[in-house]
Amino acid sequence: MSTAVHLDEITKRFPGVVANDDVDLTVERGTVHALLGENGAGKTTLMNILYGLYEPTEGTVHVDGRARDFDSPADAIDAGIGMIHQHFMLVDPMTVAENIVLGNEPRKWFGTTVDRERARQEVIDLSNRYGFDVDPDDAIEDVSVGVQQRVEILKALYRGADILILDEPTAVLTPQEVEELFRVFEELTAQGKTIIFISHKLGEAMHAADDITVLRNGKNVGTVKADETSNEELAELMVGREVLLEPKAEPQEPGDEVLAVRNLSAEDNRGIPAVSDVSFDIREGEVFGVAGVDGNGQSQLVEAITGLRTPTEGSISYKGRDVTDASRRSRIDDGMAYIPEDRHERGLVMDFDLVQNGILGSQHSPTFAADGRIHWSDARDHAERIIDEYDVRPPHADADAESFSGGNQQKFIVGREFEREPDLVVATHPTRGVDIGAMEFIHERLLDLRAEGKAVLLVSSKLDEVQGLSDRLGVMHDGELMDIVDPRNTTEEEIGLLMAGERPDADATDAEPPVGDAK
């Protein structure tokens, strides 16, 4: 086995930050190597250096045993490196084949014309060679995310990549598509390709990788063989201390109904139906989870419940009162807390400091504005309490929200919403972009609220999260609530099928779940 990539003592400094600190990384040819770490650990920066997007401050990049100095991704591509970004770089109305050959079109007639037949044939040959199931004539906008990802991989292979870098490749996939992707990994490595993938999910790294390198605070804290390590060991490497991986919810009897959603339908901003005929309820001391691939109506459902969107049909009752048409403000005053999915757009005002951000939504409440004026000293105490209790770093109440990292912004929002002493918490992706340590903390706080008898609506695309925390779990697909299941007695695969829109037939539940064509 030879070495495909060797990063030698790479250091990358940005103004005020050391993103990578003396990192060594060796990747053997024909293996799958996972780069594991919390957010902000420097994984993506390191890979961007390998891909020529950044120049290292110190250290050298070796590819195939030779020292390289990449000025741009074009150099890296020439050296046989391909990168599949988290957000796909595809042109939606163009076909699969057109996207794969984009920028490298085969020509005919003295270079004047794209040889479409040859392009098509090359794409077919390439996808057959690696056992990919893609139709070169499909438009990108018509195929599933899983297929789009395969198109991205083919695009890199078409350019002669031997080393593929994938940045968080599983973030947008259903469990079945993830399985499919890992099979693709096997096929590629069997044919001598080398794969490096970035992840912050332990399970995936354990499952799909041969070797795992863990980054923490920009440092390589260890490279281990996947079959010689354990989840616990990896988590400890990532966080630097022992971590409670499985949130433990004590069984408890739920109380009175807090929220009841009946036959709710809503449209998205374009006027296309996004939520259709959804009904469920949440009781005191209960966590109701909503799972689903992003964009299947969860956002619109949550907006309808929190008063940010007027439903087209159906009703919402909260604490026994019909609030279908109640204003957002009245819902806040009535103890409905909301952790929005997009913290930049809805959670914080980026150029406000934390003192101001801390009272958003409570700016009119008697606590901070008894006589119509905001009492800034109370607001400051409030912000500092949140910062202290929710471990927001750095602890500067006067700093603008945008100066904090995503994880710390999220911790501050979570703190603000939980400190409202709510009766219902609507939490959408509450741990998106936060690291394991903060995730554990937020999970514990959610369970504390549950223990105090509050109701929680938890929406997340992380299956393990909703599954581990919820008492009951609704699965959404294409705006419909496919089913409400008991998360403790349902396998990830069954939930995955529901997420993909397949309703299990009552008489076929014991059959092998059909895995395959992800389209």
């Binding site: 940005f14 939606d92 163009m94 920028g103 794209v114 018509d142």
Partner: protein, 367 residues
């Protein structure tokens, strides 16, 4: 959800356009039937106008500036730069073509090239240079494309009549006493009605070549694909090593080139630049925008829309000459514009390039 929704949209869109085309056809058939039945009625007059060779001839001529500007608009907008300055490009090239011919001397030839063709190319060049300025402002300095486009129009609208006033003492130039003339294909030009296609302005032939050529460039060449990718998802293009700015410059310069041909042909077809009010261009650049939107960014569709408008314009002019209906001329003059409004209101979704109008940052300085 997404796939089915898109399919549904496509189907409705297709049937929508089909219905529209069918509707137009049946209106024409109705007029034809009525006209044949009552030859001396208004329908008879309409039929005579619509089927006369001279109407086709002037429709072709009138569609030249609109079609070229629309083709230019397609290249620019497909590449991601909204160019609403087409009107200005038409004005500047129309004026430059005439003034250059006048300065060279309408009867002169320079190295075998008649002055009027030197004027023609000078007009095209002026439009290319003007669009280059627009491109630099929009691409290099990331100005708002709508505002920059309006500026192109307003500058040309002021500059051309001003320069004419300086040179001639009035907003109109003198008549050159010569035009581009017509190229006549023997025999073929004797065919009734369609003979007009073979007895036309040189610019008409250019247009009939430019439309399929533009389609070919957009859909069959690598450059065309890069143009489309640049307007849909420039980042995708950038990551495969194609310089997005270069593609966008090319798109905008092409729009200048094509609009320049339209503008030069417009004024040199008449032998004069008219600078009154909205100048002789009189909104053709804006009609061009409507034309390519109606044609859904397809050069052939854009030509169809331009030709429809030009045909109505030609018919409208002829209709004014028919006496005895007591309809005010100014009302008849609105027919093409009203039709455009109706057509635009009826036409289904036009798919606008996703990243058109947005600046592209090469992300080099991200994080």
């Amino acid at each position: 959800m997404s796939t089915t929704t898109i399919d549904r949209l496509r189907d409705t869109e297709l049937s929508y356009r089909a219905t529209l085309a069918g509707g137009a056809l049946s209106v024409f058939l109705l007029i034809a039937l009525l006209g044949l039945a009552f030859p001396s009625s208004i329908w008879g007059n309409l039929l005579a106008i619509l089927t006369s060779r001279s109407t086709l001839s002037s429709a072709l001529r009138l569609s030249v500036p609109i079609t070229f500007a629309a083709l230019g608009g397609i290249f620019s907008e497909k590449a991601g730069v909204v160019n609403i300055g087409l009107e200005g490009l038409l004005i500047i090239s129309a004026f430059t073509a005439v003034i250059t011919t006048a300065v060279v001397g309408p009867e002169m030839t320079v190295v075998g090239l008649p002055a009027i063709w030197i004027g023609f190319f000078a007009g095209v060049l002026s439009s290319v240079l003007f669009s280059a300025l627009f491109a630099v402002v929009c691409i290099r300095f990331k100005a708002d494309q709508i505002i920059a486009g309006l500026a192109v129009w307003l500058i040309a609208l002021g500059l051309a009549p001003f320069a004419a006033t300086v040179y001639y003492g009035g907003v109109n130039t003198d008549n050159l006493g010569t035009t581009l003339g017509t190229w006549t294909v023997p025999v073929l030009s004797d065919i009734p009605f369609f003979g007009a296609l073979f007895d036309a302005d040189p610019a008409v032939y250019m247009m009939l070549v430019a439309v399929p050529a533009s389609w070919y460039v957009l859909n069959r060449t690598a450059f065309g694909r890069h143009v489309r990718a640049s307007g849909e998802n420039p980042k995708a293009l950038d990551t495969v090593g194609v310089d997005v700015s270069r593609v966008r410059y090319a798109g905008v310069l092409l729009s200048g080139f094509l609009a320049g041909i339209g503008g030069s042909a417009l004024s040199l077809g008449l032998g004069q630049f008219v600078g009154n009010n909205q100048t002789m261009v009189n909104g053709k650049g804006f009609i061009a925008i409507v034309a390519f939107l109606f044609g859904n960014y397809n050069p052939v569709g854009a030509f169809g829309a331009s030709f429809l408008f030009a045909g109505l314009e030609a018919a409208q002019i002829r209709l004014q000459q028919v006496p005895g209906y007591g309809v005010p001329d100014s009302l008849i003059q609105t027919i093409p514009y009203v039709t455009v409004l109706v057509v635009l209101a009826l036409v289904g979704r036009t798919r606008i390039p996703a990243a058109s109008g947005e600046h592209y940052d090469t992300g080099d300085d991200n994080r």
